[in-house]
Symmetry: C2
């Protein structure tokens, strides 16, 4: 991947700025870069990193995502880091008593998307690993993002918190269909399934499967029920035909 | 937190089983346990862990989530690990050409939720860290879950993949409102805002703010526009009153 400009893989259009406020460990800055780039985010700002900058541990931990670190912007305080932004979200593990609305992750993803689409510059603040954001930092935000977690164990690390926010932002404008049919194969049309069924029934006539004439219609219906709701693919019909043929052969040439 | 039974914090109701197939590093089993417990998931199965079991690195990495490891179930192969399940999802970084429908993360979260609510037992397979699931493993699944990632950098670690699936399952039944008003404070009613406005206007009469009589109505309207859309809280009205009072005092006692 040497020489690949990952910025070309950055998400289409404007993106939110990720702001790490006084991060404590270089390694976490690196893992944050990786978390961001998974979802095409490349704009990272650091506020007075406690671990110092530049930082070799960050570079090591970033590995293939070091392009994010190459473009990182440094600031002395949170005020400066958000000065050019129009809307700021502050992440907290537990919402505090403050005059700020609290968004869930997915609502925040949509809000970030809408604001950006409207031409505003947005950012998301993440606090120091052990202590989280100070009230002074949160005061600067328009709203809080709080991912609902297990109250008995709410312990996301920094990269995971960034990952979830990045994921929700990405999802808010991702057009992947929720459910895609299996790749590269063709579904069988109902007539093809009926053809298989008719051939099967013909083979089973005069066998014990149709135990008695009055049960025959019911058993055929059972087979119809079974086959038609299976979303069978063309190739699978071929597989089934092969099985049917093999079974008949067995009966013909060997005693069961 | 010693002695706290985290199982009591487990998600209400039935939950999907997380199955790690041939995990390579003990540490990743531990971080998986942490990722799961953040969203109240506690049912973990290991298939032929390459790192061996029991595993001290897993226990260390799990830290406060070791309750998940205490209940882990071991299996020799994937077939045995999913034998009692009704529906299985296989996670892959890149969807393969197979006869499996492909769900996005959020569609899978909803599907898991619906299946469980319907009384079915469900599980999600995660493959070895470097190589992912084998075709034999995927063959056993009903469907694939594929999180749409940056094609130029798709590099989630095992715990992150588990985290995103756990997050989506949790979100599919989480009832947290998307947007909650700020905590513990009371919004001001419109009449209260109007009262502040009227007092402000009275103070500004005969000042340069109302530069000319014909501009007065427009300026009052500007103030109304400004104040009424700010979702002001009761306490904020008090703050503003204090500011107003202070400014008047300044004018009274000192030259501006």
């Amino acid at each position: 991947m040497a020489g690949t400009d990952h910025r070309r893989e950055a998400t289409d259009g404007p993106q939110p700025v990720v702001v790490l406020v006084r991060p404590q460990m270089g390694e976490n800055i690196g893992t944050t870069a990786r978390a961001m780039l998974n979802f095409g985010l490349t704009r990272l700002r650091l506020v007075a990193p406690l671990c110092g900058w530049p930082n070799a541990k960050a570079v090591n931990a970033a590995s293939g995502a070091s392009v994010v670190l190459n473009e990182v912007e440094l600031f002395d305080d949170t005020r400066a880091a958000v000065a050019d932004l129009h809307r700021v979200f502050a992440t907290t593990a537990r919402p505090r008593e403050m005059v700020k609305p609290v968004f869930t992750g997915d609502a925040a993803g949509r809000e970030l998307r809408e604001r950006l689409t409207g031409g505003e510059r947005v950012g998301v603040l993440f606090g120091p690993e052990r202590t989280g954001l100070e009230n002074d930092d949160v005061a600067r935000a328009d709203a809080i993002v709080s991912i609902p977690l297990n109250p008995g164990f709410a312990s996301l690390n920094l990269a995971q918190a960034v990952l979830l926010v990045a994921y929700e932002f990405h999802r808010a404008h991702d057009t992947t269909p929720p459910l895609r049919a299996a790749d590269a194969l063709e579904p069988a049309a109902k007539a093809d399934v009926d053809r298989l069924l008719a051939d099967l029934v013909a083979l089973l006539d005069d066998t014990s499967f149709f135990r008695s004439p009055d049960r025959r219609d019911k058993r055929i219906q059972d087979l119809e029920m079974l086959l038609h709701r299976r979303e069978l693919q063309q190739v699978e019909l071929q597989t089934l035909r092969g099985v049917i043929k093999g079974l008949v052969q067995r009966g013909r040439f060997r005693s069961v």
